[in-house]
Symmetry: C2
Subunit: 146 residues, 2 copies
C-alpha cells in the first residue's frame, strides 16, 4: 500500500498542482492526528510549524486532501466542519454522544456485506461511508437516570 505522501503527490501531479512546503506540513499534521479535527485546529497546529501559514491555505488544502481520498468530512459536533483522515483506516461507525460529545468508533465490517449488495442492486458506486449514530454513551446514559 502506498503511503499517504505518495498518494497526495501523485494526486497533485495528476492535476498539475505542486507539492509545496505548506501542503506537506498540513498532510503530516493530518496523519499525525488520530482524532477528528476542524480547520481552525489544523491551522493552529500548522502555525506552530511555520509562521508562513494562513487560514486560506488550510481551507484550500482540505478539499484537496478529500479529493485525493485521504481525508473525509466527519460528524459535525460543533459549529465547524470536522474531518478525519481515512487512508488506510478500516471503515467504522461513529457513536456520537449528545451529552459529553464523545465519539466512539466501532468496526463496520459486518455491515459492509449488506451494503455492497445494496450498492450493486441500485448501481451506486460508493466513495465514502458515513455511518453515525447519535445518542448517549454508557456514562451519560446512566447520569440521565440519576
Amino acid at each position: 500500500m502506498k503511503d499517504h505522501q505518495t498518494v497526495f503527490v501523485e494526486f497533485l501531479q495528476g492535476r498539475g498542482l505542486k507539492y509545496t512546503r505548506n501542503r506537506k506540513i498540513i498532510l503530516d499534521i493530518v496523519f499525525g492526528l488520530h482524532e477528528h479535527f476542524d480547520a481552525e485546529q489544523l491551522y493552529d497546529l500548522a502555525r506552530k510549524e511555520t509562521r508562513a501559514m494562513s487560514r486560506a491555505t488550510v481551507y484550500r488544502t482540505i478539499p484537496l486532501l478529500c479529493e485525493a481520498g485521504l481525508l473525509q468530512q466527519s460528524v459535525r459536533s460543533s459549529a465547524r466542519d470536522t474531518f478525519e483522515h481515512i487512508y488506510g483506516h478500516p471503515k467504522h461507525i461513529h457513536w456520537v454522544c449528545t451529552r459529553c460529545g464523545a465519539v466512539i468508533e466501532t468496526d463496520l465490517a459486518e455491515v459492509m456485506a449488506v451494503l455492497k449488495q445494496e450498492a450493486k442492486r441500485i448501481g451506486f458506486s460508493a466513495d465514502e461511508i458515513k455511518f453515525n449514530v447519535v445518542g448517549k454513551c454508557w456514562k451519560c446514559g446512566s447520569i440521565e437516570n440519576e
Copy 2:
C-alpha cells in the same frame, strides 16, 4: 401511533411552551414535504401561508421539532443545514450522489440487527441513525466513463 401534531403539542406542553399559529404552519409544512429541505426553503413555503413569519421563527422552531423527535438533521448537500421529518418513518440509508445531488433512500432493516447488538455491547442508547453513503448514482457513474 400518535399523529405528529399530538406529539408536538405534548412536547411543547411538557416544557411550558405554546402551540402557536406559526408553529402549526411550520409543522404542517414539514410533514407535508416528502423530501429533504433547508431552513430557507421552509421559510419560503411558510411565507406563502402567512406574511407574519420570520426567518427567526423558522430557525427557532426547527430545533424544537428535532428535540420532539419529529425532525432530524440530514445529509448536508449544500452550504445549508438540511432536515427531514422522521416521525413514523422507517430508518433508511441515504445514497448521496456527488455529481447530480440526488439522494436515494433504501431500507436500513437488515443493518439494524447488527447495530442493536453493537449498541448493547458498548452500552450506547441511540436516538438518531445517520447512515450516508457518498458516491455516484447509476446515471452519473456511467456519464463519468464516457
